[in-house]
């Protein structure tokens, strides 16, 4: 209810001590001196007070590092399958051996199941497979062009037959950890690409709608209203099912991003339009008009800077929905298709409830989905609060 009156900024007065966004004037001077901080500085001060938002940002940086260097974080070919190694349980890393730091896992030995005669792998406590960080393994192109063969972790002196399954294997005997690294790459980037497309659509259509108003506004608003009242998943399913089966992984990837953003732009358009409309009424825009600023100057110099932070917040908050959409579609088998790897594709295996019950690690890909969605939400909330503390 009681809110401190806003400081009147006097741009020419010299900056004094600045601490956590609270502006202190030096001594009991008659003239009030006020520190000048840019809008972005103020936002940053407010943002860093938001613990969850900082945590979310940290997690996202980590996720995107994994996406960028998936080859490094994975230690084996994600598509290398071996039916005999189907559904091996995650191996536990033992960090110390004989009192010193020497990580190892128990080796797996093949055995026949006495009942089913199937060949199964069980850990053999007597045999140790030593691990090392930055071990050499599968060769790859670091960042796409630097040949390298080092991985975050790997089996020491990579002997044939010794293998590592940190998160176990899937039905086809592929290493879940390595697959998860590549899936992170796909799913995290699909969020970015798709949100970029939605942003373009949303900013253009929302901006046009808000700035020109009238008939154009009415038409765009009706389209948005109609799109929003249609259940999205059936629509996505329909569109995704229309993708030709012979398309390559890359083609499908882009088709899916387009499909998701075609429907996802409405929320961003709503935010942009709302901002445009409320800013048009602001005194400073009126003032700019009165001193004879050109339309484009008013838009880009006066209006856009004052709502760009809101757009950044709305964009950040739109990404989790996109990630969930991609995951859902791929889970249904209508999104990305194998050999593409994404979180949704990985979760397809979990549809088989019998397999899931004996090998719960198939549910592991849910963890990055939930963590990424949470992180985006926290960061987005933080940006929104920092951009407009009184909203």
């Amino acid at each position: 209810m009681k809110r401190p009156p806003k400081l009147a900024a006097t741009p020419r007065s010299p900056a004094v001590t600045i601490d956590e966004g609270v502006v202190l004037a030096a001594g009991g001077q008659a003239e009030q001196r006020i520190a000048v901080a840019t809008q972005w500085q103020l936002m940053w001060w407010r943002f860093r007070k938001h613990r969850l938002a900082l945590g979310g940002t940290f997690v996202l940086v980590l996720f995107y590092l994994v996406s960028l260097f998936a080859d490094f974080f994975a230690y084996t070919d994600p598509n290398e399958s071996d039916a005999q190694r189907s559904l091996i349980a995650p191996q536990q890393i033992h960090w110390r051996d004989d009192g010193s730091f020497r990580p190892y896992v128990h080796a797996l030995t093949g055995a026949r199941d006495p009942l089913t005669f199937k060949r199964v792998y069980v850990p053999d406590p007597g045999k140790k497979v030593y691990l090392s960080f930055f071990a050499s393994g599968e060769p790859y192109q670091f960042l796409g062009f630097i040949p390298m063969d080092r991985h975050l972790i790997g089996v020491q002196e990579g002997r044939a037959g010794d293998s590592l399954f940190l998160l176990g294997t899937d039905l086809q005997g592929r290493d879940m950890w390595s697959r998860l690294m590549y899936a992170t790459q796909t799913s995290m980037t699909i969020g970015l690409v798709s949100v970029a497309l939605s942003l373009v659509l949303g900013v253009v259509l929302g901006g046009v709608s808000g700035f020109f108003g009238g008939m154009i506004d009415t038409v765009i608003q009706r389209i948005i209203e109609i799109l929003r009242s249609i259940p999205t998943i059936p629509l996505w399913m329909g569109l995704a099912a229309a993708l030709p089966a012979e398309w390559s992984v890359v083609q499908v990837y882009f088709a899916i991003t387009i499909i998701i953003s075609l429907i996802g732009w409405t929320e961003l358009a709503r935010v942009v339009r709302g901002r445009f409309i409320s800013l048009k009424e602001e005194d400073f825009v009126m003032a700019a008009e009165l001193v004879g600023c050109s339309k484009s100057r008013i838009i880009f110099r006066h209006m856009v800077p004052s709502f760009i932070s809101h757009i950044i917040a709305a964009t950040t908050l739109a990404i989790p929905a996109i990630i969930i959409s991609e995951t859902s579609l791929s889970f249904l088998g209508l999104g990305l298709r194998p050999p593409a790897i994404s979180w949704g594709v990985l979760l397809q295996d979990a549809q088989n409830i019998q397999a899931l019950v004996i090998s719960p690690w198939l549910l592991v890909p849910t963890i990055p989905v939930v963590v990424a969605v949470l992180a985006f939400n926290f960061m987005g909330d933080g940006i929104r609060d920092a951009a407009d503390p009184y909203l």
């Binding site: 249609i230 259940p231 329909g238 889970f331 249904l332 088998g333 969605v373 949470l374 939400n377």
Partner: protein, 329 residues
């Protein structure tokens, strides 16, 4: 008031039309048609379909005509309530969909009731006792609820049911009643099976509604009429329940309009995991088989369902908000 209803009704009709065009177009987007995929599946199983047979099939199904005529024909049939044949099943679409559609409605409504029943009191509590421990707890749970897509929650519930209770928590009926004709016993059986899918489906909507209710109420709590009510000497709980909560309820009611598409949407995919006999699994099958009449009808009916629901929520909003009823926007 009349103008408001007419406007909403017009928008509803327009939306239904847009949905019909979209659903029809979607089915026609993939190259080839039902006959192509039929031929493919037949040859996969070893029996070939001759060119002549294919042409005869197309003619019989009306697939050889221009797309606008096909659309007009389809719409004509739709309006008469004749949804055509589900080709793969060899039965009328209405037969195949029938019960599944009503079960979709039942589950969606159950999920929305759950959402409301939980979100309303928690939202009020969180706004009134802002920054209390429970508020933080609810906010945290809400965030988690928001972050777990329905189908993942369904997977986890299925896993827990199987692994720890040895029970299949999926489905809407016990095996005894799955194929039985409708009876009170079957309805009771359905009621017993309803909570798990309703909760799974409703949880992320609940998380959103809690946030909406909380922020709406926080806005209202700051308004002067709350202070005037207090200044009249009304006890605090009555001040809050009678005034700001009542006012914040209006935008809350209108969220049905947006909750419904969301819930219906989610029901499709959750049904697949929990093997619920709704239209979800059917739609997926129809899309994969390119069974246009069936898939088109399902998408259209789901769309119509949400439009009707949204229209009802518009009427409800008019009923609770005198500003709309009296033509003040």
């Amino acid at each position: 008031m009349v103008a408001y209803i007419v406007r909403r009704l017009l928008l509803a009709v327009l939306t239904v039309w847009a949905i019909s065009v979209l659903s029809f177009a979607i089915i026609h987007l993939p190259p080839g048609d039902y006959v192509t995929s039929y031929i493919a599946s037949m040859s996969a199983s070893g029996s070939a379909v001759s060119e002549g047979e294919a042409i005869a099939m197309r003619e019989q199904l009306g697939l050889d005509q221009p797309i606008t005529i096909q659309y007009a024909k389809w719409m004509g049939l739709m309006l008469q309530g004749n949804f055509g044949m589900a080709m793969e099943w060899g039965r009328p679409v209405s037969d195949v969909i029938g019960d599944r559609m009503s079960l979709t409605v039942v589950i969606s409504v159950a999920a929305i009731i759950f959402t409301w029943a939980v979100a309303l009191p928690i939202g009020i509590y969180s706004a009134v006792y802002r920054y209390s421990i429970l508020d933080y707890a609810f906010t945290f749970i809400g965030f988690i609820g928001l972050a777990i897509p329905g189908f993942m929650l369904a997977l986890i519930v299925m896993y827990i049911g199987f692994a720890y209770f040895g029970a299949n928590v999926g489905g809407l009926f016990s095996p005894d009643y799955a194929e039985a004709p409708w009876s009170w016993a079957r309805v009771w059986d359905l009621t017993l099976h309803l909570p798990i899918p309703a909760i799974v489906l409703g949880i992320s909507g609940t998380a959103q509604l809690i946030r909406i209710m909380r922020s709406n109420l926080l806005d209202e709590l700051r308004k002067p009429y709350v202070m005037t009510a207090r200044a009249r000497g009304l006890p605090e709980y009555r001040v809050i329940l009678k005034y700001p909560v009542r006012v914040a309820l209006n935008p809350f009611v209108s969220t049905i309009g947006y909750l419904l598409p969301y819930v219906v949407s989610g029901s499709i995919i959750v049904s697949l995991v929990l093997s619920l006999p709704t239209v979800g699994p059917l739609l997926l099958k129809a899309l994969i088989a390119q069974d246009m009449f069936l898939a088109g009808t399902i998408v259209l009916l789901l769309g119509v369902l949400t439009v009707v629901g949204t229209f009802i929520s518009d009427l409800l909003l008019m009923w609770v908000d005198p500003r709309i009823r009296l033509g003040q926007q």
